[in-house]
Amino acid sequence: MKLIHKATRSFLIACLLVAGLGGVFCFFLLKKIFSEEATEQLYAQKKKLTAHLHQTRQMPENWYALTDSLAVVRVKEPVAETLTDTVLANPLEPGEMLDYRILTFGVSVLPLGNPASETRHYKITIQNPLYETEDLSMAIFTVFAGLIIALVLALLLVNYWLSNRLWLPFYKTLDTLSKFRINEEQPLAFAPTTTIEFQALQTNLDQLTRLVRQEYASLKTFTENASHELQTPLAVISSNLEQLLQAPNLTQSQLEQIGGLLDTTGRLARMNQTLLLLTKIDNRQFGTQERVDFSASLNEKMTLWEALIQHKGITVDQQIEPDVDILVNPHLADVLLNNLLTNAIKHNLPNGRISVALFPQKLIIRNTGNPPTVPIGQLWERFQKDSTDQSSLGLGLALVAKICQSSGFQVSYEYAQGWHEVVLAMADSTGQR
């Protein structure tokens, strides 16, 4: 949801709330005012009538006939005053009922010119129609609904203008930012803007991206230099040891010592190279992806390791679908397959079995073997290895996990009923998963 839509939504909700509550409040207020007004009118009429009666001391003959709303009845007893609301038929529109407020009171007067006569009591009823609630609420609803529609229209217009004009530099900045590639050199070219906030945003982004690129470049340089700095001394050691090994008259134990040192140096070199490879993948230095024919690569690897598999007496069961193209860095794909297959060979049982299956977007490698000694959750971490295995660097699966992560593959591992199973879910060359 766009920012502008979010703001509009909140504003609309606020509008509806305020207008709704305002309408209800307005309705009750008006109702109260009208009601009080009706009562006031009734009492004003009462005052007038009472005063007139006391002054004239006789009933005007024509009063009754004047209107429906006034009724005077002569009664024997004095009448107490009551104010009631009732519903009566509308005399103008038959069938419709109307709310009426009715004031009933009594007036007692002595007739004129006859002091001996007794006091006369009258019961007077005045009725006034109340304004219809339905009409009132309808009127208020119409007014407020019109108001809301007008507001929304105005809001939409303003927002349209805002997003087109005011937010345009922001969207342009976002667009530029999305084209940022850490391994490229030219600075981000933001479209100029006059808005101070956006200017600040662009300045900060510019600084940030420059800094990130600098850090990235120095990390890259460090990686390469570290490689150079470590590999060269290793080369010195191994070359000199190899020359030493050729010396005549070495005793068997001297030969073994030198041989052992050479092996250790070799392991150190491989470890260094693997760690550098991990770092390089982290640094996204293997960014270029190509269509790699996984079927061909896998068949090639199976051939490469065929002799070793036979040597260990392992039975292979392979089901490789042809022409499975995967979008991946070719070098990383090579390392990945090598690691997965050598793992399956290495952690196998004598006369064990390996099952390799490749489908479009899925590679399953299974092998028989002893249960893993490392908890499955830690299996993908660096230097987690079977402690009894001296020749292993403990980096193979970490490398597999890293390559999968950087290539967008899903990798999972399971051990069940004597079988290790690694499943790779990959995107094919069209990007489908």
């Binding site: 070359s239 041989g259 690691n339």
Partner: protein, 224 residues
């Protein structure tokens, strides 16, 4: 062969020079790009071993210059940079091979010999040791004229041994040559032992004496 070694690390250069001279090559050493540049101007070499990262210059420039002025000479890049880009760039410039440090001297020797055979500096593309003759072009092996059928890895193994006669080759160096180095070791020493056994058996079947000497716990040596 006359070889120019361009390598700034003195003790590494010393070991390589020691080794190359023992192999009967004539060697010169340049410790930086400028010295190498001057040597290239004056002398002709059959082969140059060039490090890429050098004081006051890049080895890649030397490769370029060598290709321009001495197109006959073979070039092997020896670099600590194991990045694909450098490899591709070096080979594009005309280098014949690329070795990543640290490397085994016997591996360097095998590459040098392969280069020599390709360039035919010595006139003969064959590798001969006693009655064993290898024809690299046809990938054929003969013992006293009788063909021997070897698997691909056994063939590679034999050629590697024959490229380094009289040298102690560690099991690590041999298996790296056969299977590359970007993988964890897969009990390959045991495996190497069985391949070596097969190779010996196949050679012995053709009446070849066992020239492969086992140096217990270390490796092997091809010796007459």
């Amino acid at each position: 062969m006359k070889i120019l070694l361009v390598e700034d690390e003195k003790s590494l250069a010393a070991a390589i020079l020691d080794f190359l001279r023992a192999e009967g090559h004539v060697c010169e050493w340049a410790a930086d790009a400028q010295a190498a540049d001057e040597k290239i101007d004056v002398y002709e070499y059959d082969c140059a071993l060039v490090d890429i990262m050098l004081p006051n210059g890049s080895g890649l420039d030397l490769v370029r210059k060598l290709k321009e002025t001495q197109s006959r000479s073979g070039i092997i890049i020896i670099s600590a940079k194991n990045s694909l880009d450098d490899k591709v760039q070096g080979l594009d410039l005309g280098a014949d091979d690329y070795l990543t440090k640290p490397f085994h001297l016997s591996e360097l020797n095998a590459r040098l010999n392969a280069l020599r055979r390709r360039r035919q500096f010595d006139g003969s593309p064959e590798i001969v040791f006693g009655p064993i003759k290898v024809l690299p072009d046809a990938k054929e092996v003969r013992v006293s004229g009788q063909p021997v059928t070897l698997t691909r890895k056994e063939y590679d193994l034999l050629v590697y041994l024959m490229s380094n006669p009289g040298r102690v080759l560690t099991k690590g160096a041999i298996s790296e040559h056969l299977y590359g180095d970007d993988i964890d070791q897969v009990d390959r020493f045991d495996f190497l032992y069985s391949q070596m056994k097969n190779l010996r058996k196949k050679l012995a079947e053709q009446g070849c004496p066992d020239y492969i000497q086992t140096i217990y716990g270390v490796g092997y040596k091809l010796t007459a």
